[in-house]
């Protein structure tokens, strides 16, 4: 038995006589973080929507595990002012949840104090956290996040990505993530697919960053920042007191090199490199 949740084989989606994406093959396995990166209009969102059944493919095949439950944070979700919707009520939008589950989810994303607020009054970052809490509250097999850190400042982005990987660790769900903040994301991910109307390269963060296709799409600077953030990834695991065993090449390659470093040092690193990245 395979533990693949979603398998796409040579998928193409066509709208208005134009191929939005073509020849996409990808697999998301249980517990895995798969990240799609690429410029705007490169077909990341189309691919994800096809993967989870919102769009039908015009060619190729999409297979989903029979009982797959999905939690989805779309790229854009505008809630009309005419709809009175508190953060708490948002949590049970697609499925019922107990009061404890709601409180726990809100606390986990750090907006427990906003439970009674109307969603329309939230700031961008608070709203993204609320949407993340809503998507994870059912403990889905697959968490699908389409640019979940938009409108969030840099520190907030790091915190949100930490949260996503923490959710993965604890709930064992797979994560399908779209991002163009690649330097932050890629370090935590198991597989990266780099998009430009098709998959130009795929693999571990390191192998993708090293590939010529990736460098020509994002420039050599992007590859440098990526390397920096794989340190950060390592740091997170050490400060947890847990070392993830060799279930992904990322953990593998970092563990030996930086095992003796102090967390504080990394925290310092992170800020410093952030300044450079600006």
């Amino acid at each position: 038995m395979s533990d693949a949740l979603v398998t796409m084989t040579d998928v193409g989606v066509r709208r208005g006589g134009r191929w939005l994406v073509r020849g996409v093959s990808l697999e998301v396995r249980r517990g895995e973080i798969v990240t799609l990166v690429g410029p705007n209009g490169s077909g990341k969102t189309t691919t994800v929507k096809t993967a989870i059944g919102i769009l039908r493919p015009d060619e190729g095949e999409v297979r989903r595990a029979g009982t797959l439950s999905i939690g989805y944070v779309p790229q854009k979700m505008t809630i009309d002012w005419t709809l009175p919707l508190s953060v708490r009520r948002l949590m049970t939008l697609t499925a019922p949840a107990s009061a404890q589950a709601i409180d726990a989810a809100l606390d986990r994303v750090g907006i427990g104090h906003l439970a009674k607020a109307d969603v329309q009054t939230l700031s961008g970052g608070e709203y993204q956290r609320a949407l993340l809490a809503r998507a994870m509250i059912r403990r889905p097999d697959l968490l699908v996040l389409d640019e979940p850190v938009q409108g969030v400042d840099f520190a907030g982005q790091l915190a949100l990505y930490d949260l996503v990987s923490d959710i993965r660790e604890r709930d064992g769900c797979a994560v399908l993530l779209i991002s163009h903040d690649l330097h932050v994301v890629m370090a935590k991910t198991d597989t990266v697919l780099c998009f430009n109307g098709h998959v130009c390269c795929a693999g571990t963060p390191q192998s993708v960053a090293a590939s010529p296709a990736y460098r020509s799409l994002f420039g050599p600077r992007a590859a440098e920042t990526l390397a920096i953030y794989s340190h950060h990834h390592d740091h997170t695991h050490l400060s947890d007191g847990r070392v993830r065993l060799a279930d992904g090449t990322v953990a593998d390659s970092c563990a030996g090199v930086h095992a003796d470093r102090h967390p504080e040092h990394h925290a310092h690193d992170r800020r410093e490199h952030h300044a450079h990245a600006e």
């Binding site: 989805y72 979700m77 508190s86 009520r89 697609t94 969603v119 709203y127 889905p140």
Partner: protein
């Protein structure tokens, strides 16, 4: 003492208001006011066809309203015209064709004003049975499909991804609208049905904290408006539909006043909270 016909009208008005409250909320949330208007206007075509083929009026209206909504869905998919223009074309052409057809049928006497603006004298016992029977079915379906409908309203894509079949919700919603238009036509009149759906919902928004309370409040406010309006209609001999709508409008204006007052009061009491909240961005 109230006469029988008036008692029936009041009961009919309240029955319609109870159903149109929650349904009207969805129309407001989904921004479908013009869509509802189009379906309602097509009701006159339904009336004409019902006369022509000698079938029940409500059935004719329901069938035509449902057909128009399906036609609109199909036309939207091809999308060579904007939805706005499509609605305009369908709305007025179905109304016009209906009126022309009725004019051709010289062998029947039709009270056109009654159909357009409602007639409290027109409610029979059987109508009342249809309003409460049909209304109960509509409310039951709405209660059963509440979560998928609401999820599809907030985000069809999230609903689809999480297995709630928003397309099904949408079709069921259209059918419910067609049913409400069919049962509300006699009292409110087809030109004003949408206002009975929208105005109580809009009034309820200011006092509601959740979608569910808004739906219940809209029902209550609609029932109050229907009662006041029908008494006014009896007292001043005005057409029933416009009278009910005027009453609903009165409640809406009152709610604006009270909202303005309580808004001013609460921001004076708690300036800190008002200041600490970010500006609404959505």
């Amino acid at each position: 003492m109230l006469s029988d016909f008036f008692l029936r009208a009041i009961l009919a008005g309240i029955g319609i208001a109870l159903v149109s409250g929650p349904l009207g909320c969805f129309i407001v949330w989904r921004r479908m006011a013009y869509f509802g208007d189009t379906m309602a206007h097509s009701a006159l075509l339904g009336v004409a066809l019902a006369f022509a083929f000698d079938i029940d009026l409500m059935l004719g209206v329901f069938a035509v309203a449902a057909l128009v909504s399906v036609a609109l869905l199909l036309l939207q998919r091809r999308a060579s015209l904007s939805t706005d223009a499509l609605l305009g074309i369908l709305s007025h052409s179905t109304l016009a064709v209906g009126i022309v057809m009725v004019a051709f049928m010289t062998w029947i006497r039709v009270d056109l004003m009654g159909f357009l603006f409602g007639d409290i004298l027109a409610v029979s016992r059987i109508d009342l049975a249809f309003i409460y029977g049909g209304g109960a079915v509509v409310l039951a379906v709405l209660a059963l499909l509440w979560r998928p409908l609401l999820a599809a309203t907030v985000s069809p894509e999230v609903a689809e991804a999480e297995g709630l079949r928003p397309e099904r919700s949408r079709i069921v919603f259209m059918l419910l609208m067609a049913a409400v238009i069919a049962i509300a036509m006699k009292i409110v009149g087809i030109l004003l049905i949408t206002s009975l759906l929208i105005i109580p919902a809009a009034t309820a928004r200011r006092f509601a904290g959740t979608p569910e309370t808004m739906a219940v409040l809209a029902s209550i406010l609609g029932a109050v408006a229907a009662t006041i309006g029908l008494f006014g209609s009896l007292e001043f001999d005005t057409p029933s539909g416009p009278s009910v709508v005027v009453a609903a409008l009165g409640l809406f204006l009152l709610s604006l006043l009270s909202a303005a007052r309580s808004g001013a009061a609460s921001s004076a009491e708690t300036p800190g909270r008002a200041a600490s909240l970010p500006e609404p961005s959505r």
